[in-house]
Amino acid sequence: MRVHRRNSRIALGFLILIVVQPLFAAGIPRCAVDDAGQELCMSAPAQRIVTLSPGATELTFAAGAGDKVVAAVNYSDYPPEALKLPLVGSHTRVDMEALLALKPDLVVTWVTGNPPAQIELLGELGIPMFAIEPRTFEGVSSVIERLATLAGTEQAGLAEAERFRSGIAALSEQYRNAEPIPVFYQVWQQPLMTINSDHLIGKVLQLCGGVNVFGDMPRLVPRISAEVVLQADPHAILTGSADGGADDQLDGWKHYSGLTAVKKNNLFFVPASPISRPTPRLLEATRIICDYLDSARER
């Protein structure tokens, strides 16, 4: 008789816990460390999010918090739902009044891309901010998970982060023993700019078995001359274009018939937004680049 009552009390206790736990969950502070090293703790999931870069918009939607975003900045064009969002200026010049009027409870900023003076002002006004700037594949997954934690959308966010993670791992495994091929990634035509191995695009090239001929340069986005490209003689030249279709950005290289990349017609175009933004679309861009480099190896 006594054991029976104790068991039923335990059962009742568990029942109460199960019922009450979701109420507690809302009250547990959600903390995450941003990419600038600052920890942000929110007492409740974020409900009104403003994103201050197109990449941040994509990542917030990827974390499953798309319906909580109340405003973004110019060029926030993915996913298509983001096009309907009201804008608060551009990532280099934010309209502070419009931002404040929206009463956000979380602002997702870009470590190096947003103007420091305006970010300082936001801090002084007490607006909770989360600065992001993924620099590695793992950084992309991590930022999606952290944003999902802050927004209370862990289920969708963790799933998306894991999808990206396993996709990259599979590609990495597939191209682990690929034959190295010297490549040149052209960021911009005039002035001629490229990236080194610390840049996310540099890491994509590395994953696909490409050897970035400018990988060792000290600056993240070096400005170079055509001469050094000719000297390095890459076997493939890649650049980003509006939708991955061919345009005239690589026409300048066609004069140099001595270049291996030109001789073998290894001039490739990658969709610009997926390759330049540190978002889940990077997975598709990586697949495209790996395919290109495979075809370049065969030629």
Partner: protein, 319 residues
Amino acid sequence: MIRPLLSLGLLACAAMVLALGLGSVTVPLPDLWQVVQGEGSALNRTLLMDLRLPRTLAAFATGGLLAVAGALMQVLLRNPLADPYVLGLSGGAAVGALLAMLAGMGTLLISGSAFAGALLATLLVFGLAHGTGSWTPSRLLLTGVVVAAGWGAVITLMLAITPSYKLPGMLYWLMGDVSYARTPWPALIVLVFSIVLIMPLARNLNVLARGPMQAAALGVSVRPLEWTIYLLASLLTATAVTTAGSIGFVGLIVPHMLRLVLGNDQRIILPASALAGGTLLVLADTLARTAIAPEQLPVGVITALLGVPTFLFLLHRSR
């Protein structure tokens, strides 16, 4: 003499009220009054007290500083094309600010660095032009213009070598932006202090405008007066550029606009320049914030677009 100053003062007040009311979020007059009294919604209070009031006051102070500096330079150099930047001051300030941005410093250090650069530019031109023998305004002007070109070359070099992500910030600083001003008080204090300092000397400036020989003959100690004006104009310009970057056009045109309407008595022109320059910049900044909101325009573009037709109209009318 008081009447024009009073009208300009009223115009300045009206412009400030307009600036406080307009923006990405329009605050109607009754709500404005509420905030002034200490009530009003939290959003309106933040908008007005933390964003718009400091910005409007900073715009007024900067415009006033630049216009007075321009008027003083035009008297000093006896050249109607003189503006506050002709002696390379904004170049030195820009090099200071850009160096600080390159080093990744915070906004306070960037302002401090800009001010230090401006002072360095002032001393450089002062030292170079202060040769033995006869000193003329044209010698000062030549020295200043050449030094300004030197600063320009250094700025171009810095823009060429800076990492791409720092460029927008640097370019916006060079275009001039009142939103950088975190507090308007240094600029306002310098403006008031300078006006108080220069008003007793205004009559002597009128005499100086006729030429140094005539001024000396009439008992004005020319050399000390000229150096005082130079240093004061440099202080005004350095403060303006430190507050809001290099905003062009105001210093050159506002004194001329006022001369067309009010004549060339420095006792009226100097305080009037402060009021009119401040008003012009407040209106230009309001337009820059609202014309294509939520996009923000640089205020220097608007001052030129507003000022050029106004000046041409006044010039036409005065014939």
